[in-house]
């Protein structure tokens, strides 16, 4: 049972795999990245940076996918990261177009200036 945890996820080929980095490490990092993206999205007022933080979240997710791919030695993880990339790109395009549009209206990038839809 314990062997699963300790099997290392080092790279197969050169350089020589370092046995002790387990799946958990990568998951922690990806979770941390995801959460930082979330915090960034919630706290930063500049719209572009907000979208940038969503990109960071994508990044976190991608890392987790790759880690699991590596753990199961399947290539699915990586294909998904490709799709993540593709979606991120699409999202970036759309988002930035929108930001430009909004910027033209209000002369500022702050998300605070758009609050007509309130009760």
């Amino acid at each position: 049972m314990d062997s699963i945890l300790s099997t290392s996820l080092a790279q197969l080929a050169f350089p020589e795999a370092v046995p002790t980095i387990t799946l958990a490490h990568y998951l922690f990092v990806s979770a941390a990245m995801f959460v930082m993206g979330l915090i960034g999205f919630m706290t930063r007022k500049n719209m572009i940076i907000m979208f940038l933080c969503t990109e960071l979240m994508f990044q976190g997710a991608g890392l987790a996918l790759i880690a699991f791919g590596r753990h199961h030695l399947g290539a699915d993880g990586q294909t998904f990261v490709i799709f993540v990339l593709c979606v991120a790109a699409a999202e970036a395009a759309m988002a930035l177009a929108l930001v430009v549009l909004l910027f033209r209206h209000r002369e500022s990038l702050s998300s605070q200036s758009w609050k007509e839809l309130n009760g």
């Binding site: 979330l38 999205f41 706290t43 998300s111 758009w114 007509e116 309130n118």
Partner: protein
Amino acid sequence: MINTTLLSSMLALAPDAHAGGAHAPATSEVASGPSWILLIVALPMVTTILCGIYAMIGNKSKLPAWTTVVGAGIAFLCTVAMYLSFDGTPYTVHAFDWIQVHFSSEGGDKSMIANFSFYIDTLTIYWMLFVTGLATLIALYASEYMSHDIGTSYCRFFGAFGLFVFSMACLVMGDNLLMLYLGWEGVGLCSYLLIGYFYKKPEAVAAAKKAFIVNRIGDLGLALGVYLTFVHFGSLEYAVLFNDPTLLGYVESAKVGDFSAIPAMAQWIPLLFMIGAFGKSAQFPLYVWLPDAMEGPTPVSALIHAATMVTAGVYLIARTYPMFLASEHALPIVAWIGTITALLAATIGMAQFDIKRIMAYSTVSQLGYMFAGLGVLTPTGGAYHVLTHAFFKALLFLCCGAVMHGFAGQLDLRKLSGLRQVKGWGIVSLGMFIGCINLAGVPFTAGYFSKDTILAEAFVTPGYAMIGWILLITAGLTAYYTFRVFFRVFMGPVEYHPGDELHDHDHDDHGEANHHDAGQHGDHHADHFHPHAPGWAINTVLVVLTVCSIFASGLYIVGGNKDAHTKHYADTMVSASTASYHSNYGSHAFEYYEKDPEHYPVPGIGPRGTIEQPLEMPLVGGDPHKMMYYISGVIGVIGIALAWFLHLFGRTNAAECKMDPIARMFGPIPKLAENKWYVDEIYWAILVTPLRIGSHILHWIDKLFVDGIVNVFGFLPRLLAWILRPSQSGVLQGYAVSMAGGIALLLLTVFVIILQGGAS
């Protein structure tokens, strides 16, 4: 013929249980009498309706007065016919069903019956005689007295007058306690309408309201008593009630003196009736309305507040006397309250200057005497005093009325003097004189005899000697203040000043009493002001009443019935009815016992005494009755002499007299007495203002709390909405934060549960 019939009725009815009388069971049907008796009640109602119609068609003549006089007159004649044709056995006359509830409970068919029917027995006749008699006379008197207000007010007056006679008839002749209560409230209403006759005067309206409300408090006591009697004895009709074996059993055990057998509820009934009686007959706690009732026209004061209505309380106690006997504390309280009222009213009467107010307080005082009479176990004495008092007090009031009528509303005895010498006022002075000697209790007058019986009985019944002495003192005071009025107003130098038009009716049609000089204090003879001498109607009524007062004393001598052991007319009439009580303390108790041992209770045994108690309470060494003749006579004469010396001897003008320096010598007491011992103010402070403040507080509570809570419930939804509104702020990141927060919270709870679940 009368005596024999009375005797047979006496035996048949006398509630001597020990005689094992063959009384019919509790639901005995009393014979039903001739239906023309209903005329006595119907006629006054007819006159009221006629007066209503006159008012509608706008009658401007004295017609309403004549209809009322005729109606009352016929009613009086019917009463006399009823009296003459009365054969001793009480009977009922049924008009129509009124309130009947039949509840078929498991315990057989029970029902509450209160019909419009009339119960005629000697007590009813005795009472109705002087009620209808006086009503006719006073209606005649009022026809002239109220002549200033010809028109709708005139009709309104006589309409209310007729309604009053109708209610009094219902009260006295009603065959059940609810009819009595109907009459009771009816007379209360009529006194409200008549006191408030001059409705433009705010004092009159206030006095009327006060009279009705104080009466209403008394009525509450009576009503609760009536309901309790029904609930306790199962019926309200006299015929059934006073032959109820349970009640007779109570009376018997009361006579022997053990009150433990009588349940508390039965003992409560007379106490409640007493409250009603005090309210209506203006006794100590509830007498405050009578003096204010003088705001009404004088005929009203004479009829209602002197002769008839105020005696309703005495009638109630007399009618339900067995119940009073059955209660341990009822009669002593009645006696003591009567005495206190007599003394209190006498003291206030001495210090008043308005002659009508003095007469009002003297009525309260004399009523105190009657209640004392009832209290000291002599219903006959009380009833006889009611009769005599009705005549001479009505006479006194009417004389005062005549004075007021003639002198444009002047009633202050400091502004009137020597009316005897004024032309046209001879009859009024004579009437006043006769009334005063009766009231003062000068020997051999009717008042003297009736007051004497009460005083004697007070000394005969053990434990009431103190009452006797107080009543004696009050007799003296009565004599003093009566003749104080007489000597100040009718004797002495002739001097008079017109009143300030107490009548609100304008005087322009009467040339002779002109206004402009009213304020002036004219010289000895205000030559341009001629007193308006009373007309023929007033004089005839005064003459008739004087004659009656004089011959009323005759009733003390004549009318006795040897076999029925009744000494005089009143005795026969009262003791033949439910109100009889053969005092086995009375001076005659022993005689009766010797003559007819199995018929009369063993003397000496009574509610408050034992065999050892000596029969005769020696008063100053002799039989109380005989001694009382002399003592009360002497007291009366002393009172008169004192009044003569202080108020007539050497008096030069109307205003001052010898009494004034002496009054100052007494210090504050006369001032206090003049202000009626501030009883009104005390009532107002203790009862009315706190109740009013209480009501304001209740209203405030009702508005704030009870209503407030409801409004709060109404407000809650809006409050909730107000709280939740800011959450929709429109800022994108706000929503992001709340979403993430929601997820975090959700995960946290799920995680804790799993953890907890896992750990447990």
